[in-house]
Symmetry: C2
Subunit: 366 residues, 2 copies
């Protein structure tokens, strides 16, 4: 659901990529990590996923770097590994780069072993989760990324468990990518809440109301006011509409990311029997790469994907709808368009980028 | 959401297990496959998952066996394998037994390699998907099962794609299990629709209305009439409530099961470029087993699970709610109760079982 935003400028994707990379470098990030970070943010911006694009460069990453909450000189490292698995540590670094490194590790192992999974703790916000599984596509692998946070004491803003009144989860997304032959690659990238909270922020920033079905105020009331929405519903909303399933998926993500990696135990103290000694500090992630030819020849798989997508395209439509889309299709079309026309930016983002340009002495022609 | 059904009898789980196994054997199923089949059905009946329990013995399995749609002498076989993967064929046999065999294959490979996935085609309805991941718990593995069907031409009954007016998917469930230390094992077993269609059938059978938010009539209208509900919403319902995510999950399940196994291509004919030559005949499944110690020592993982569950139990409740549950917890408590009190049966199920008892000469004291 693209937010009806007012754009004030368009900048070529390559220009924004170089700018983002250079700002990261001037902020103390190594060139390789800076390039990875720019890749992730521009992937989202190209595809119209503006909640996760360059608008976050200042809003999230530079702000956290300046606050000393991101370690600019992180050395990501392996804590435990086998030919098909690894538990790794993001060293408190830039999540965008840590996650790129971990996904490459998963793909490298999968190349050798057929498949591999990597769970990572002590990382940070990784941007658009869909970027990482999409990395696997050109290697004819199925890609997977989960990123999760569980707050044992709850928090003001986040996702509610079914029957709970205090948010306990982040929006804990699931992202999966399947290669195709001629159709757009199938890329699912979904929060396990009805909407991610940063979509509420984007609405607020643009003075727009939010759909009240997304969540509740601090007092537990539905609201269209983006300032007031704090408690997000899990996918499905309440119990009667299947919200326990969204909640279950959110907890599955938290487990694969934060329990399997040890991220949730990092603060665990004297009493191993008491949950209140546990505290997940950074973000935790989970990555997977599965070679399709571990199961069947790649060509047949891709033909099957195309045929399934074509069958959905040809299926009867709901009244008033002209197309049935599959996951990643709208974003793929937006990408083609934005590669031609440039990345559209709102007034808020333009102001942020100009501020970064001056501050770090990195030129940007907007 | 347990259906408020009227029970007319209670039978010990062991008695029903032996009966189920013996009926399968008399119907021509091999003793091993019959025992596997009884395990799956009784697991569901013990846990209160009545939609998938012994009520289906006649309704689904015996009916299909008699119609010649299930091959009673199936030999499940491997079509392709590596140390971490297999593509297997259910030989048109009893899905309950085929799936048990495939999950054992996944666990055996995982024991050696750290993890393994198995995709299966040419199988049939596998009962409660949660049974298979739960098999992995005692081996300190994470278990996974998906089962999926995609109908390229659509069908009268099934799950709608977002913006579509014709059902294209089955309820394509996702089931995952995580071992715990002292808490009930965490077992998520969820249709990727708001509710599975056989829950509508169960309501109809018991003369109960259905929640209208679950789905639509053939004409696309909401209805509380279990006779009329045909088109099920994906989890989330319409686009504004996140239904495209439930639809995305459903297609992910269909891909891992039916595209990766080749099940969706089985009918594919002359023209490989045209989807209308593709047709998924039987059911397809996907199984996974992941050793926890491929990532971290098992004890720490289990302590982390317990701590997360305890934190959720302790979290503030929505007004009017006394407990926050985690996946599998209600079913675990039902199981303790039913192991004491016996499996409660409705009049319809009692009549079905008595009919099978006479027909196959297998005694059953109800």
């Amino acid at each position: 659901m693209e937010v009806a935003m007012e754009y004030v400028a368009r900048v070529p994707a390559e220009t924004l990529h170089a700018f983002t990379r250079d700002v990261f470098v001037r902020a103390g990030i190594s060139p390789q990590h800076a390039a990875d970070g720019a890749d992730v943010l521009l992937w989202a911006s190209r595809r119209g996923v503006d909640t996760h694009g360059v608008r976050n460069l200042k809003l999230i990453y530079l702000r956290m770097l300046e606050a000393g909450l991101i370690n600019p000189r992180a050395h990501f490292f392996v804590e435990h590994e086998t030919p098909v698995s690894a538990r790794v540590n993001g060293d408190g670094g830039l999540g965008l780069a840590a996650a790129s490194w971990a996904m490459r590790l998963a793909m490298g192992k999968a190349e050798q072993s057929g498949m591999a999974f990597v769970t990572m703790r002590n990382s940070f916000h990784l941007g658009a989760a869909g970027f990482y599984p999409a990395m696997a596509l050109e290697r004819d692998m199925i890609g997977l990324c989960l990123t999760g946070h569980f707050n044992g004491q709850g928090s003001e803003i986040g996702v509610l468990p079914t029957f709970g009144s205090r948010p306990m989860f982040s929006t804990n997304p699931i992202a999966v990518a399947f290669p195709t032959q001629n159709e757009a690659p199938w890329v699912l990238d979904m929060a396990t809440s009805i909407a991610p909270y940063n979509r509420v922020v984007l609405h607020r920033e643009n003075g727009l109301p939010v759909p009240p079905q997304w969540g509740l105020t601090a007092a537990g009331e539905p609201t269209p006011d983006a300032q007031l929405m704090k408690k997000m519903w899990p996918l499905g909303s309440d119990r009667a509409h299947g919200g326990h399933k969204g909640y279950g998926l959110s907890m599955m993500v938290a487990t694969m990311c934060a329990v399997l990696s040890g991220g949730w135990d990092d603060g665990h103290d004297e009493d191993p029997a008491a949950f209140d000694g546990f505290k997940q500090t950074g973000d935790s992630h989970f990555f997977g790469a599965i070679r399709i030819d571990a199961f069947r020849p790649v060509d047949g798989f891709k033909r099957g994907m195309d045929a399934m997508i074509q069958a959905l395209h040809a299926a009867p439509k709901e009244e008033g709808q002209e197309r049935i889309y599959v996951a990643g299709e709208i974003e793929h079309e937006t990408e083609q368009k934005r590669l031609q026309e440039g990345i559209p930016l709102t007034a808020v983002t333009v102001a942020d980028l100009k501020e970064l340009s001056e501050k770090f002495g990195v030129g940007l022609d907007i």
